[in-house]
Symmetry: C2
Subunit: 338 residues, 2 copies
DNA sequence: CCTCTGGCTGGAAACGATTCCTAATTCTAA
DNA sequence: TTAGAATTAGGAATCGTTTCCAGCCAGAGG
């Protein structure tokens, strides 16, 4: 089985030249005579030779591979990001190794070490948390260029794709207020993440401008999971001061909230207003015509690819900002008892 | 920058032993004295040494990497398959390289060659087509173990995960017939794919048993795309003999069909019955309570991982069958003019 | 006391490329 | 004609491991 792999050795022998000459021809080195080029190319095509990545990588110290680590590949937003990043990176000759961290920071840690051992050239990651001091030191000691998705960590040598969440959420919340909503709930992930803080800022700004005082019990900022959101919404509607509108930050939050409303037999857009932050496949086929805060996942993927390539070729760390905007549909209207 | 990578060389020097001894300790070779083991382990932990995958791979001829090639990673079903396969393979020490073929068989061809150059240990693939003779010869010449998802190619040395589509579709179609439907349309992908033939068989069997003659114009078997399905449904409902029920084979087919019905202002479950083959995230939040044919994507991922590991360790090619079953909900009921 | 066995160890050859260095050849110019 | 420069080719080192092979030393058996 070993003898069926054709190496540069075989090519050299067949062409009757030295190994180094074959290598020079294939890497378009300047000092190659026409005669040599022809001989080698003939041998290459006759043998169907293709250089081995492994050996090249070992020698050159670059694997042409990018590690893509996310918390959950089944999240439709991330899968689009992964697809478009892969598309861009492949054009530049890179492959991607996909790793799930399952939202577990110890798995995340292992993954970084795996990346290092595999001599990954660069990393694109959506980290579990921003405050883990350990994560910070791991990344800094890794010596591998990294692009963070929607995370901002002080003192970290990393590029980042940051979405401007506050703008879209502000527009959306303002629209709710304009439609007469005063009791607006906001469900999303942990407050220590930039993404949550940014959304919260948009929410607060809109309330301030609209002259609405935020009741802290309407802020449910705990986890991105469906489960969390589901139970928080049930809890809110079990209380005396039921909200008339909900802003759900993230796909999980939206799914959990919509399920809760369904179980409560409350009709979205009629009994309660709703804004989904982020959309998912077949969004338009849902039972209600949801207003949303949109960002383009393709753009996130493209930008992250651009940033990591930039870093790999020695460029400085930088940030790319992806805008969000409000897509007004019918679920944000005034409701019966609003 | 080169000097900060700690190699087996440094460990050997620090421990005052030969490189080969370090390697023996780390690979749990039998011929190692306790004294040696202790010295080496001390040096390893003090230096924080981790063996380099590249060099190991080059020497051993195995990269501990699986290539995962699918037509579209944003397909929610595939992304779950990818996730569960990754989970299983990681437990066995493998990483996965994810590649999109974008449903393009020339890209697919390139990808195979990339896998070979990267010395991938095994491939899990959802191929674009089954009949391309070229693909067959490429795979056979590749010399890399491969597991096919839902494809059956004669004369190919490959394992496969096959879903038993016909059973679920038959159950579903029988239910439609029992509910009085006679004009049932079936939209799905190309007829030359096993997956389509298998679904069609279930459909035909149910019709035969139910005493219904199939009108060929109700069979729309062209592509898996949303677009195709959308236009075929519009076409069907523009004709004289409108169907009273639709079976949509695949997520794309379902999406396209549901959009067409929405545009036609036909209510699913009321004006027309509908069966979705395969579910997607937040299926339960759709505007209608869709009956479906279900298969477990997690199981597909697990099985494909199991089969490829089996092949890599020298086992024979084999098949795993994943069952489908009918999930009866309300969209399959009798309808107004049915 | 000598040989044989067997456990351990170190040295060196792979694995398949790239690249530096040196040498041979050709060409130009004095 | 010959020195010196410019091309071009080959040889060898290198990347970081694993693994084969040979040798050393200690203990056992005669």
């Amino acid at each position: 089985m070993k003898h069926n792999r054709v190496t540069i050795h075989h090519v050299a022998k067949k062409a009757g030249v030295a190994i180094s000459s074959v290598s020079r021809v294939l890497s378009n080195h300047a000092d190659v005579s026409d005669d040599m080029r022809i001989k080698v190319e003939k041998a290459v095509s006759e043998l169907g030779y293709e250089p081995d990545y492994l050996a090249q990588s070992l020698r050159k110290g670059a694997t042409q591979t990018i590690g893509f680590m996310i918390r959950d590949i089944t999240n439709p937003l991330f899968s689009i990001v992964a697809q478009s990043a892969e598309f861009e990176l492949r054009k530049a000759g890179y492959s991607i190794i996909l790793i799930n961290s399952h939202g577990d920071s110890s798995v995340e840690k292992e993954n970084f070490s795996l990346f290092k051992r595999r001599r990954i050239d660069g990393i694109i990651a959506s980290l579990v948390s921003e405050d883990a001091a350990q994560t910070k030191s791991i990344i800094n000691n890794l010596g591998i260029p990294i692009v963070l998705l929607d995370r901002e960590i002080a003192g970290l040598k990393a590029s980042a794709v940051i979405c401007n969440h506050s703008i879209g959420v502000k527009e959306a919340t303002s629209d709710l207020i304009k439609n007469g909503h005063k009791r607006i709930a906001f469900v999303s992930g942990m407050k220590d993440l930039l993404i949550t803080r940014s959304r919260l800022k948009g929410f607060e700004d809109a309330c301030t401008e609209g002259g609405i005082k935020i009741d802290p019990s309407y802020l449910r900022l705990g986890k991105f999971s469906e489960d969390y959101s589901y139970h928080e919404i049930l809890d809110l509607f079990g209380s005396k001061k039921k909200p008339t509108a909900i802003v759900a930050g993230g796909i999980g939050a939206s799914a959990g909230a919509l399920r809760a409303l369904k179980d409560l037999k409350l009709k979205v857009g009629k009994d309660v207003a709703f804004i989904a932050v982020d959309e998912w496949p077949m969004f338009d086929l849902l039972s209600s015509d949801l207003s949303s805060v949109y960002r383009d996942p393709d753009e996130i993927g493209r930008e992250s690819a651009r940033l990591i390539l930039n870093l790999i070729t020695g460029g400085p760390t930088s940030q790319a900002v992806v805008q969000t905007h409000y897509r007004k549909r019918t679920s944000s209207r005034r409701v019966l008892n609003g």
